[in-house]
């Protein structure tokens, strides 16, 4: 059985369905109507130990709600979820010991206390042995530069400092599974780098990660698997490479050629591709499907025509795929989930 297992996980909310204004409120008194919102709709998820999964989707897709279901904060309306064999909602205490959680938009620091005290309180709650605690803090300090913020009261921390502290809080007890909800939101690039480095180290330790984020840099840097969710449903579940290979197959090769080459001649060489001329003489772009042509083939086709001065190849970014999914341009068929 996988470390994190969700089967047909569903969460519905009842929202009062009433017109705006006082009349609406009064009417609602008499005729109570509710709409049912399916925030999470029959989600199946299976995460093995050591994996790093990116959980992606537009705002309101159900990402945070899924995390809350997986961590036991919210009770599922139907379906089941098990983390290391335990139901996180019903076996709250046992589950809590093996997970770490970070909500990027909220802090778990005690507002009026210095960071050091918050960490000490958590140490007590989690029963972390003193030596382990010190050792971990030292490790965290190396990447997150904790020492400089330890004596600072939480209220006075900047966003970047707060996030670093919250990361330490989430991991002070060495959990097996870590859920991160928007861990880099609002951070500047320097802090983002630190956070990503921290996550890489976690992965190296074998910690299982689940990450929701809008920052695609986080995904490319940290995760090897991506699950895309929209309107509460999983619409894609596979490795990053698979996503790119399946849905981001377009490559662009930018060529700078010496000599006189006419566009139609070049284009005739690659009937399967789209060839465009660049603004300057000798500049051409070949847009092709990776499955149909390789870069080698393109170069082999060009060299007899003219000397290749420069070559530049555009790699597909996950961004392009996600953007298309968000815009509804791409209806993905779920890849078979590895089980």
């Amino acid at each position: 059985m996988a470390l994190v297992e969700a089967h047909h996980l569903t969460k519905t909310f009842r929202r009062p369905d009433k017109a705006p204004g006082l009349r609406g409120s009064l009417t609602h008194l008499v005729r109570r109507r509710f709409t049912t919102v399916r925030a999470v709709d029959r989600v199946d998820l299976s995460i093995e130990a050591g994996e790093a999964v990116a959980y992606v989707g537009p705002n309101g897709a159900g990402k945070s709600t899924t995390i809350k279901l997986l961590t036991g904060i919210v009770e599922p309306s139907s379906g089941r979820v098990r983390v290391a064999g335990r139901d996180p909602h019903r076996e709250r205490t046992a589950n809590a010991r093996q997970i770490g959680v970070l909500f990027g938009q909220r802090t778990q620091l005690w507002w009026d206390l210095p960071v050091r005290e918050s960490l000490a309180l958590l140490r007590d709650m989690y029963d972390v042995p003193a030596a382990t605690y010190r050792e971990r803090l030292a490790r965290f300090d190396a990447v997150l530069a904790l020492d400089e913020i330890m004596p600072v009261v939480a209220r006075r921390l900047s966003l970047g400092q707060r996030m670093r502290a919250d990361l330490a809080c989430a991991l002070i007890h060495g959990p097996r599974v870590v859920y991160l909800d928007e861990p880099t939101i609002g951070l500047d690039i320097a802090v983002k780098d630190r956070v990503r480095q921290f996550l890489r180290e976690l992965r190296a330790d074998g910690t299982t990660l689940m990450l929701t984020t809008h920052d695609l840099g986080d995904i490319e840097d940290t995760c090897d698997r991506i699950v895309i969710i929209d309107h509460g449903r999983v619409i894609y579940d596979g490795t990053l490479e698979q996503v790119k290979d399946t849905y981001a197959r377009q490559r662009n090769v930018h060529l700078q050629l010496a000599g006189d080459v006419a566009l139609p001649d070049l284009a005739a060489r690659f009937p399967a591709a789209a060839v465009h001329a660049g603004p300057n003489p000798g500049e051409f772009t070949v847009a092709f499907d990776k499955a149909a042509l390789t870069v080698g083939q393109i170069l082999a086709g060009v060299i007899p025509l003219a000397e290749v001065v420069e070559v530049r190849i555009d790699e597909p970014a996950i961004e392009d795929v996600i953007r298309k999914v968000y815009a509804g341009e791409l209806i993905l068929s779920p890849a078979p989930t590895p089980s």
Binding site: V74, E75, R92, T93, A94, Q105, W110, D112, A120, D124
Partner: protein, 262 residues
Amino acid sequence: MRLVRVYRRSLGAHLRAVLEYQSDFWLLVTAGIVTQSLGFIFLSAVFARVPTLNGWRFEETVLIYALAGLAQAAVPLFADGAWLLGSLVHTGELDYRLVRPYPPVLQVTSHQIGFSGAGDAVGAGVLLVWALSRVEVHWTPVKVLLGLLILLGAVVIRIAITVATNAIAFWIPSPNPMFASAVFQIGELARYPLTIYGFGLRVVLTGLLPFAFTGFLPAAWLLDEGGAAWLGLATPVVAVLCALAAYAVFQRGLRRYESAGH
């Protein structure tokens, strides 16, 4: 026990944080003392006009008032965080507390410390000493031990009622503890001889919201007065029941918890 140790550390951390605001501390302590004194003034004004209240003398009535006040003082001192439950639920701040291996209800109650409780304790304590010196109690070592046990029971009952009434926030979302405040105010009524109230009110204050066990019944037992004196002895049992009920309400509420947006 680890449970207690962590609780103490949590309260202690807040204590230190709040002591930073010195004016805050003295303001609240004074407030507590003033509140208790006002009750005493009210009683003396009433008893200046009448010799007894349903057979209860001035000093005996003050005894009831002081016992209830002492029990009440424990709530802000040890479980003040309960009043913030509505706000925590409303903003979704409860989330983090649900993923730590420590009972969420205890995390909530230890979230804040209210120094008015110290003032309440001082004020009520003074009144208690004053009253005890003027009433007839047949003191024995057993009586002292039982008395302390009953006082502890009264404290637990008050905390349990505070937690349970604040837990209504899980069902009726509101950032303000209006219902809990109202019940708290009702509890103030139980600081007087219950015999003055009609049967209905007496049943409510004994069976439904057992405030009677936080002042009147313990006092009645102490003074061996009235037919219901033996009920005072049941206070510790009622306390256990109240604690269990409050815990159950809170747990049931957690199942309904929907968190908040992001």
